[in-house]
Subunit: 371 residues, 4 copies
């Protein structure tokens, strides 16, 4: 119920402000017996880390995860797993000047309207720093999903401002390429163009939006709960809850608007579905195909170009962001989007098991291979 | 927690299959003292009704709401409100032939994979008939939101296949026009074109997708709960849970991808925000501006053009839908989308009041007028 | 979350007032494939029915259950099961005189304080009529628990006013005897004494309290969720939520206060536990022993002896209950208490399966036989 | 939903094992603006602390609370409040010998049955150490309840083994006396007798049960949610979830069984209720009277007298507890029981405000003074 908790059965509660002593999370409902060590979190946290490259924010966080509970002799015990990361590089002074000013495009004004009080340091709770713990929690989910079902969740940058991957429409994504460049971009040859584009943006003191795609492979049919716990509805909520996200698509998404039914409906043969406009979900339940989603991220509002705003004193002011910020927050949203998809799948897996029994009761399936 | 319940505090639990004895809902947590009579539901249910015009499905339902509980002497008592509508026009014979066949693009295959059993009559629980109760429940929410805050929620068809409203980008919508035609279309002059288009589709036995926009005016700043209960995240979930929806946008949506930060961020002056790319939500909390959302609806899969599929016996078959169906399910999704937005706002209003107190504690606000 | 919903995964939402058109419930999260017919509810509803004997209230309800959804061709489909019972014998006139008066010992005053409005007919939502649907919903739970695990839940009257069963402390209960008399009393020879006692009470226009015991046999070890979802904590909540209940004990209950640890702790041998002071629950998790609970029910406040009270006009008044009432509401609480225990077990069974997998993963157990 | 979270709107999630690195909690949904400092927790934590006197366990914990989030410049911000206490005095070696043995009366066997793995150090998650965080979280709740409504929650030891306070039945409790002795006992003259009794128990290597009473004064009428969220039902769950609790009573509790209705029902006069057998709750909603509860705590199973049990290898063994333990765990349960009552009231206060509006809408009330 609480709004800082994600998931019904695999329930992740996060806490922490950008410049407070620490951020962390508590994972409740985790299956027992999963092997987990502090170092397991390093890979995905590094992928999300802001200091990863000069194309994202320059803030550097050690992001060392301490496991406070729920793991005994290297295995989850079924009790709550608490993870904590100390905030080591929080230069609060950078933000002192804006404590009384509502930055345009930020949550400053709305937090103040809601609570009458806000922590202005680095955006406080509204900072994307919170997403670190989503990625950390999803490490455990990804592990269980992979070990038990062979499920993998992969994201990539599918648009950066006006630039799209130079790929045919239905081309398979090479994730080795995606992981080999700081943009999570699927076409290696375009990386220099992206570098040039981001450098120009940084010089101009501006930012740009992005589109991130995520695909989950290996999801068995039958996951998802009609009617308000539909798999796609929960993916939409999970992805829209990521900072800066303004749109979510499942499968064909907005392209469906101009499609005819004879084109959109995915026909079935004994060797599998003949297409996947549905994004692997029908009636809110997984079909056994790849689950696909796409999100739109707005351009960061923290830019060097001055903006007009108001302050607590009721005056009109000009705001110019200082501190360390991203020309494109969408880039590092890639592992965050993966994390949210993994958390949704993990939760739905447990919910399906609760109502319908374990995998052993599964029914004969169409092969997933024919997409 | 239960997946057929929507909302945390204004909790709407729906039940019923397309061709079962009845559909209904239970509304728990409703504030006491709201004046409600059975006839209050008629207007919005008629807007949603499938038999409204020849441009949507020919099934005719009386859709007469019976109030079974929670209302005493015409006012809500604070106890659960049960609403029931009998299914009076359910011709199950139309669906007899497809009990063992998985129709492409439908939830037949996925329900069977999940549960091992399904009610094939009219799609059973997966039928859009369920949305009738969303609309009914939202009648109460709309009333409270309007009476207490002056909030109004309006939807319109923003695209039908490839046809868009012939309107300038930022033009105000005339809802008198929207309500005057069976397409919820904001430009009266285009209605004949739409009629022609839908008639041609029907003749071809095909269907098409649509886009529906919704705007909520009068929403006070401060509603929405970070971080997983964000107003936009809950709108995304609510709207994606509507049958056939494949995409959700808040504010500028996917157009944000190609925007620069200097363009996207909505600046603030003492007379209000200067733009509304955010869709009235910052950091998951309402800003006092109009809350705007847009959804993509896929073309209905129930079409007369035969489709290839498989059956329970493991054979490849050809499926040709019979019975009564919509060439464009998106049209009647308009009041359903309004309903989901209203339910989200109602629930968030109560949650905000719980944590932060009643309206009396509100802080000074920017005027909403300057968009 | 909603307060008229019981259970997290097997979620039962009840609705309806004592003298409204109907009472009902929606069961969400039910496993698919359970065989259920309308007549399955008759036995337990008859056991609970108020008109069962002249020793309980004279109101007669047909209590015919209509299944509105969630069952197809006699089996649960996994979608919400809606059950409705029409109120056919609601003589509202009996209650007209007390609409403005707060009856002592009833919820009249508190409902009015909470909501500012109340349905005075027969106690409205506060009536024990609501418990009919708990019993109905539990019929499905009992069936699944019995079929899948061999679990049985049995209750009996363990005290009526000052009268206790004439049985040795640890004597086994003969449920054939319990079911053979209208008091659910385990000693047939005492039934005439009870009849005499209740008749005298009725003549005096007074009422008396009761104690009901419930035992669940066959519960496997491992059910229950620490720390706030403990099996005993949820039993306590479930049982205390029954009208008129003022106390709940698990196992030795209040007798534990005067026990020494060397006496209370249940030792273990390879042939099982040597005693069961714990009531089959340790650390909130079932031990595989019998799960035992006991509840105290207050004497009904609806009695013919006039009582002093106040009214809406702020005057002191004298209240004398009319209409049909029970000299001892505790008698018919027996099947209701069974129902709540069954609902708790059902919910915990699904929750255990979600987190820890299906029964196949169970570990070697001590035999339950040695108590 | 998650089982380590208490409360629906004031949601407290606890984590941590007895001998892990730390214990902690996350409080979500807290109203903004409450003044809180780390030292505010000291008083109640000291009352609960095990090393308080030689009459309870000798384990000494600094119990220094660190606030990791949710408080800015000394005030709650409305975002999640994370509290952490490091475990500084965890001598795990004491428990090494029992890793493979199921101690009788403990959760060893049931945790293993549930999860297949358990942290044996000090009882792991099943340790009463977890209750530290309940007390810490309740400090914030008590503060808000006191500041806003004048509510106070007080507990006392009402029975220790066979010893009862030497007080008349309806005597007022002097809480200055209760707080002046290490037994929370309301009669100073009996303290030497208690000391003698506990010393004898310690010498005998045995333990004994206890009864703790709690009263909340100042609770306004109207709190509590029928039918499954009743105030008494939630108190029952909250109190039964405390380690070692085997019984819960509200108001007259089990004494109700032998009462007549004419005696039990609390009559009303314009100067208030004439008695309080109901414990301040009617129909699950507070009446404005004192809310009273009583709990039974079993004798600790960790005693020096050897007990028979079994081990993981399937052998019968003899268990003799070593380490530091309480002859009567019930003594320090007093502040824990207060904490749980405060948490229930806090949560219900927010839930009432959500549905029915703020205190301003309250209705005329009977005075609480006449009990």
């Amino acid at each position: 119920m609480s709004s800082n908790t994600f998931g019904k059965l695999f329930a992740v509660t996060t806490f922490g402000e950008s410049h407070g002593p620490a951020i962390g999370c508590v994972i409740d409902g985790c299956p027992p017996g999963i092997a987990i060590a502090p170092e397991d979190f390093a890979h995905d946290l590094a992928r999300r880390a802001t200091g990863k490259s000069r194309y994202t924010s320059q803030r550097r966080e050690a992001d060392e995860v301490e496991i406070l509970s729920g793991v005994y002799e290297g295995r989850t015990t079924g009790t709550p797993i608490a993870l904590v990361i100390r905030n080591t590089d929080a230069r609060s002074k950078d933000y002192a000047g804006i404590a009384d000013t509502f930055r345009p495009g930020h949550a400053d004004y709305t937090y103040w309207q809601k609570y009458g009080i806000r922590d202005p340091r680095g955006g406080g709770r509204a900072s994307a720093r919170e997403t670190t713990m989503r990625v950390a929690a999803a490490v455990i989910a990804k592990k269980w999903l992979k070990d038990r079902f062979g499920i993998e969740v992969h994201g990539w940058l599918a648009q950066l401002g006006g630039i799209r991957p130079d790929l045919p429409a239905e081309a398979a994504i090479d994730f080795a390429v995606v992981e080999s460049n700081p943009f999570f971009w699927p076409v290696a040859a375009q990386v220099p163009e992206l570098e040039h584009y981001i450098n120009a943006l940084r010089k101009a003191g501006d930012s740009v939006g992005a589109r991130v795609n995520v695909v989950a492979t290996g999801v068995p049919p039958g996951w998802g709960e009609p009617v308000y716990g539909k798999l796609d509805a929960e993916l939409a909520s999970a992805l829209m809850s990521i900072n800066a996200v303004k749109g979510v698509e499942i499968g064909a998404g907005f392209a469906s608007v101009a499609q005819n039914g004879s084109e959109h409906r995915d026909e079935m043969r004994l060797d599998g579905f003949t297409s996947n406009h549905a994004g692997g979900i029908l009636g809110g339940i997984s079909s056994g195909q790849e689950v696909t989603a796409s999100i739109a991220l707005k351009p960061a509002s923290s830019i060097l170009i001055p903006g007009r705003s108001v302050n607590l004193a009721g005056e009109e002011v000009e705001v110019r962001t200082r501190g360390r910020h991203d020309p494109c927050v969408g880039i590092r949203a890639t592992p965050i989007a993966e994390a949210m998809v993994a958390l949704v799948l993990m939760d739905q897996a447990l919910r399906h098991r609760a109502q319908c029994g374990d995998v052993a009761e599964a029914r004969p399936r169409l092969p997933a291979s024919a997409r």
